[in-house]
Symmetry: C2
Subunit: 216 residues, 2 copies
Amino acid sequence: MKVLVVGANGQIGKHLVSFIQESDSLDARAMIRKQEQASFFENLGAETAVVDLEDDIDAIAKAAEGVDAIVFTAGSGPHTGKDKTIMIDLDGAVKTIEAAKVAGVKRFVMVSSFDTTREAIQSAPESFAPYVAAKHYADEWLKRTDLDYTIVQPGALTNDEGKGQVQAAPRVDRGEVPREDVARVIVAALENEKTIGKQFQVVTGNTPIKEAVASV
Amino acid sequence: MKVLVVGANGQIGKHLVSFIQESDSLDARAMIRKQEQASFFENLGAETAVVDLEDDIDAIAKAAEGVDAIVFTAGSGPHTGKDKTIMIDLDGAVKTIEAAKVAGVKRFVMVSSFDTTREAIQSAPESFAPYVAAKHYADEWLKRTDLDYTIVQPGALTNDEGKGQVQAAPRVDRGEVPREDVARVIVAALENEKTIGKQFQVVTGNTPIKEAVASV
């Protein structure tokens, strides 16, 4: 299974491409914004495609040609300029979803935010609400397609070393989770078709990742 | 027909409430953010409802109780902070649409932007693109409901005196249009059921407004 990783140069993205390359059943194509980001991925034996998420759907669809799945893990982050929030976290995600359709790629894993419900938008601190809203509309857009989607909603991201164990379910208590473990959760989701059509939260926990993901 | 005007205190909104109050068949309820904005509308004989568009759907639905139509003409404007673009132009619009459903209001007139297509997002100047994207997703959300919607897409807004004549069609050449004429177009749309399910651009022109709106 070849997987296009959109946002490969991000912190989760780099872990993810590494784990995909380690997997026997998966191969990565890293979608990156700049050619100078390519060597990291080439050293892992991954393909690269240089596309800016602010380019049009056709450019993204071209990067997705021939892959079996797409992971969207790009993010402007909650603290970048608010114009990027709508252009990357919402519009970049929607363009990637539309590109999946154009390229005929059915499988789509979205890395979302812990809680993207209407209630979460309303209760978010003012500086964070635009980010939650952008992720909300991206998730909504995806759910209204007929793609084979999985929506992964990680807790507060840390750079701690991965523990290999998480708690994953539609609703879990708020908590932290290492980016490395989120990347492993994405791999587990790609490798388990039972996650299709599922949306689940994930925080650090005591269940081995494959098992936790299989139970959602 | 009682009409809730969301964004009543804006420049188009003030014209609109005036024209609604002048009409024999329509009455306005002005949704405003602050109590001190009420006197302008009370002097026109209009009802008022004080609700912030950043409040929740239920607050907006309460303001919409008992009305027959809603006009969304609120806007952060293309040059306000980008966080407001997503929170007002997109999320405020979607919450108003959802509030219409909660309150059982079928008729909905959206004041959109001249061109909210995917192509328009891609070709917009970088500072303007977030606004176009926000309006795009708000329009898309509305079109996917079963509300009796009309989407009005005015050209470049001016404060010139209304001419009473416009050009209106799904696609017209780019041009200016006085806010006063846009307000009259909204009234004409409310008064003409043939505009239900229609989306049209409007610029200044040579056709009397009622006639132009009837032809879209």
